[in-house]
């Protein structure tokens, strides 16, 4: 998943972190995996809630990421009706997406563990 994430455009506020490189896709996959089919707005909301405002995510940046994931065959999408009766596109994770999510989660935990060990060892 070597993808460049569009960084926030109003990231003048030091307290909100940038989206770490390559993690938006992972977050989207995880969200769809745990929440079931969602539209773009729902995904963005969910990620914001989980990060508790710690991410400088422009909600729009979710769409190029969704398209990219769809091109990889990890998610699928179809038109549906949203809770406030608007036509919206709903995304759901595919079997390939679940496998990818598992692999990436594994990678991520390994990397985090390694960095933590390194930092603890240094201090």
């Amino acid at each position: 998943m070597s993808v460049v994430i569009l960084l926030s455009m109003d990231n003048t506020n030091g307290s909100r972190g940038e989206v770490p490189y390559g993690t938006l896709d992972l977050m989207v996959l995880k969200t769809l995996d745990s929440m079931g089919p969602l539209h773009g707005y729902g995904i963005a909301r969910r990620i914001e809630q989980v990060s508790q405002g710690g991410l400088a995510l422009n909600q729009g940046t979710i769409y190029p990421a969704l398209l990219r994931l769809e091109q990889h065959g990890w998610i699928t999408s179809d038109w549906g009706i949203s809770e406030n009766k608007r036509r919206a596109r709903f995304y759901s994770i595919s079997a390939a997406g679940r496998r990818q999510l598992a692999a990436e989660t594994e990678n991520w935990s390994r990397a985090v563990a390694m960095v933590s060990r390194l930092l603890e060892g240094q201090s």
Binding site: L6, S8, M9, H39, G40, Y41, A44, N58, Q59, G60, T61, Y63, P64, L67, R68, E70, Q71, H72, G73, S82, N84, R86, R87, A88, R89
Partner: protein, 880 residues
């Protein structure tokens, strides 16, 4: 897998662009609506909620742009936009576009045309199955390859198992075969092949069938014809199968048509018909099939996949050494059998490769001149577009983006030019083959397209990159101030002028090289034509009689009646018959010895059979006598020596009255009395004066291959009556060409003439391009200096001073070019040495070429210089 899937998804996205636009539009709107209602729910007014939603969402335009970048194939879309823009630019400047495209089309087309021929001559593998496994089986003595005798071949073929089959082939018996029964008797080009020929090559018939070993064994009179012959003689009628061809009086049944493009195993030959080897005794007067002393066959085999070439060669050589008695054994070092790669077949065109390489180099250099002209044109355009480029830079276009745009324009030019070039090359290559009178089967293929594309890309880089870099290296301030009209920014101008001058130096020096080479090749042709041949080419008419081996005896009986009949014609002074004489298609070589002086390999002796009267037409007698009717069968055998032969055999002594013999060592039993000495003649334009021994036709029967006629007036005027006289005397005789010896000489100089004409044409083109190039650069320089010239004139400079100021600049570039080009020319003269003839010193040619280049360049510079000098100072100053 994933990559492929993503690429396909992108392709789908690219194709469904409009649908994608609608989708992202709707998604964004619905997202904004949901966000806005969320904010409204938190208590904002509808208007505030909409604004807040937009803030939270981020820049919708940027998101959409990024989304598009992911969705489709952005580089194609950019490219399409660039190409469309480039086409608009070209349409706005049709004169420039036409000039550039035509230059490129001609320049690249010439290169592709020559490449196509060169590829067919030098690189193309035979159009057969797995040509890489074909090997030529050679007998080599001291590195000199020898042919096979049929008994030796038969024995090797029957006993070997190192190769996956082998075949023998010879075109010698049928190279000038006669086809009768289909209109007038005419020439047909055939090849005799052994039964495994088509199987070893892996070629099957496109119609009917090919020979098998069984056909060869039973001596069945069969023929397989070429696709070309099928078309020419039978208009591709499928009813051709079963029809018969009478070739050299053998009636053969057509059993098949070879595939289109198949020309046999020998490069430079395109047989019309293949016949089984076992027919040889019926096609020729002598039986070669049981004669170990006739070595006349080329042999090709196919390597087995499991036997490496080295092992196959060792096995075959061992087999050969056990059967060497089945071939002529000559004295000297032992003969070894060797295998040579033959994926390209047997090469009879090697001599044609060198001239083609030279032409390729010349065409490449012309293209170099053409591209520097284009570079100059583009530089001028860049200057004119300074304002436009400045504006685009100012509004935020990156330099890289602009570079890409400008290069796209160059590539569009090249692409159109290259497409036209392919079309030019199609008939160009055919014309080249016709000009060279070569038998080469050309086939347009992807190779030519790839070559054209590669050349086009290379050329575009040559002429496009430097001007594009120069064009985008503008100073914004001056560029914008220069105004819409375009201007000449003073700051960076110096660098561009240097680039332009370097381009001119390249052009002028390469032109010098080309004009000089053309001069050498033209002089070579003229030297070859104007040398002293030893006879008067423009007074003598020569009738060629194609060597009809099957009709030897028949021809000999015709000799006297023919001579009488022609001699009686009005306007004819003397007539003679000859066999294997100068300026004709055939020659007979051998060894001649005098007592105490054995024959030597270096003599290159040739025997010419002549009738009485010959020495009044061709080589005149300088000592002793020529032949008369008295020198007949049963009288003392006599000979006449050429001056060269006399000198070599008898050095200073008078040879008349002495003896020579047709053998390596002098043999009394075969001696000939030397009756006279004849003036030296050239056997062919490029031959030195030859070692020739003339013998009377009456004492040494041979097929008459030429009739020489000395006319009282213009020999060409009596050609028609000579032809009808021969036809009435011998209705069944096939008459070849009737032409003056001047024409025969010219026919022998086809390659030289082709080189002279083409190099002269390319040289002229180079001069023209150089004129245009110099004119353009100086014109531009003068225009740039208009204000300066105005000031000079206002301060009292005379007009002569102004033009010499401009010309001085040119002279410097010209001087440098002549030095560089002169050095290159000297090197080229050395490289061309093998193609040249009779050129002692190249100084005169070099001086002439340099003078013509200097004259052309100065003329091209003078026109703008004069315009500069004639400027009105007030007008000029107003420009500022």
């Amino acid at each position: 897998m994933i990559r492929l899937r993503v690429a396909l998804a992108r392709l789908r996205g690219f194709l469904a662009r409009r649908k994608g636009e609608l989708r992202i539009q709707e998604e964004i709107e619905s997202h904004l609506a949901m966000l806005a209602s969320e904010f409204q729910r938190r208590g904002l007014s509808p208007r505030e909620a909409r604004l807040a939603a937009r803030r939270e969402f981020g820049g919708a335009a940027q998101i959409r742009e990024e989304w598009r970048r992911v969705r489709g194939l952005p580089w194609i879309e950019t490219l399409a936009r660039d190409v469309a823009y480039a086409l608009r630019q070209l349409r706005r400047n049709p004169a420039f576009a036409a000039a550039a495209i035509l230059t490129l089309a001609l320049g690249i087309g010439a290169n592709t045309a020559i490449y196509q021929v060169l590829y067919a001559v030098v690189f193309r593998p035979l159009p057969v199955t797995e040509p890489g496994r074909l090997v030529q089986v050679e007998l080599a003595q001291n590195g000199q390859p020898q042919h096979f005798s049929y008994p030796l071949f038969r024995e090797l073929e029957a006993r070997q198992n190192a190769l996956d089959g082998m075949f023998a082939v010879s075109e010698f018996p049928l190279r000038q075969a006669t086809l009768r029964g289909r209109g007038l008797a005419k020439a047909v080009h055939g090849a005799l092949v052994t039964g495994d020929y088509f199987r070893v090559l892996g070629v099957t018939a496109r119609l009917g069938r090919v020979f098998t070993k069984q056909d060869d064994r039973t001596s069945a009179p069969l023929a397989v014809i070429s696709d070309r012959f099928w078309e020419a003689e039978f208009e591709r009628s499928p009813a051709v199968l079963g029809q018969t061809l009478e070739i050299n009086r053998v009636v053969a049944t057509i059993i098949g048509v070879a595939p289109r493009g198949f020309f046999g195993e020998t490069l430079g030959q395109t047989p019309d018909v293949w016949m089984p080897m076992s027919l040889q005794p019926r096609l020729m007067p002598a039986d070669y099939l049981n004669a170990p002393y006739f070595t006349w066959l080329a042999v090709i085999g196919r390597l087995r996949p499991d036997v490496p070439v080295r092992r196959a060669q060792a096995a075959l050589d061992a087999l050969y050494q056990r059967n060497a008695n089945l071939s002529v054994r000559t004295a000297g070092p032992p003969t070894r059998l060797q295998l040579r790669p033959a994926s390209r077949g047997i090469d009879e065109l090697r001599h044609f490769a060198d001239p083609l390489y030279v032409l390729m180099a010349i065409a490449g250099l012309v293209l170099l001149i053409a591209s520097s002209n284009l570079a100059n044109l583009l530089l001028s355009r860049a200057a004119a577009r300074t304002h436009e480029i400045g504006v685009r830079l100012a509004v935020g276009a990156g330099r890289g983006r602009l570079l890409r745009q400008l290069l796209t324009e160059s590539f569009v030019l090249s692409a159109i030019g290259a497409a036209l070039a392919l079309w030019f090359a199609r008939w160009g290559s055919r014309m080249l083959v016709v000009l060279a009178r070569q038998q080469i089967a050309l086939e347009p293929g992807w190779g030519a397209v790839a070559f054209t594309a590669a050349v086009a890309i290379g050329v575009t880089c040559l002429f496009g990159i430097a001007p594009a870099l120069a064009a985008t290296r503008v100073d914004l301030h001056t560029a914008l101030r220069a105004g819409r009209r375009g201007g000449y920014p003073p700051g960076r101008g110096g660098r561009r002028q240097f680039l332009r001058k370097s381009l001119v130096v390249v052009q002028v020096s390469v032109s010098l090289l080309l004009v000089f080479s053309a001069g050498l090749l033209v002089r070579t042709l003229s030297n070859l034509r104007r040398q002293n041949f030893g006879f008067q080419p423009d007074r003598i008419l020569q009738v060629g009689l194609p060597l009809e081996i099957s009709a030897w005896r028949h021809n000999a009986a015709l000799a006297d009646p023919l001579r009488e009949k022609i001699s009686a014609l009005p306007g004819v002074r003397v007539t003679a018959l000859s066999a294997f004489g100068p300026m004709a298609d055939f020659q007979q070589t051998g060894f001649f010895a005098a007592p105490g002086r054995p024959a030597q390999e270096s003599d290159a002796a040739r025997m010419v059979h002549v009738s009485p009267g010959y020495f009044h037409i061709m080589a005149r007698i300088v000592a002793g006598r020529g032949f008369t009717a008295e020198d007949r069968q049963g009288a003392t055998p006599v000979a006449v020596l050429s001056q060269t032969a006399a000198r070599k055999l008898f050095s200073q002594d008078d040879p008349v009255g002495k003896f020579v013999s047709y053998s390596k060592q002098f043999e009394r039993r075969q001696q000939l009395l030397v009756a006279g000495v004849a003036h030296d003649v050239h056997f062919a334009p490029r031959d030195p004066y030859g070692f020739i021994v003339y013998v009377p036709l009456a004492q040494n029967p041979a097929p008459v291959t030429e009739i020489e006629v000395r006319a009282a007036g213009d020999p060409a005027a009596i050609a028609a009556i000579v032809r009808s006289a021969i036809q009435s005397a011998a209705p069944n005789l096939r008459i070849g060409e009737i032409r003056t010896l001047s024409d025969a000489i010219d026919a022998g100089l086809i390659q030289e003439r082709m080189m002279a004409w083409l190099s002269a044409a390319f040289g002229a083109l180079a001069l023209l391009l150089t004129f245009v190039g110099v004119y353009g650069v100086i014109g531009y320089a003068v225009e740039r200096r208009i204000p300066e010239i105005g000031i000079r004139l206002a301060l009292g400079a005379r007009r002569g001073q102004i033009s010499s100021l401009i010309l001085k600049d040119v002279s410097l570039s010209l001087g440098v070019s002549l030095l560089v080009g002169g050095a290159a020319s000297v090197a080229a003269g050395r490289a061309l040495k093998n193609l040249l003839f009779g050129i002692g010193s190249v100084d005169g040619t070099l001086a002439g070429a340099a003078l013509s280049i200097a004259a052309v360049s100065l003329a091209a510079a003078y026109l703008p210089a004069r315009r500069g000098a004639r400027l009105d100072p007030t007008e000029a100053l107003r420009e500022e």
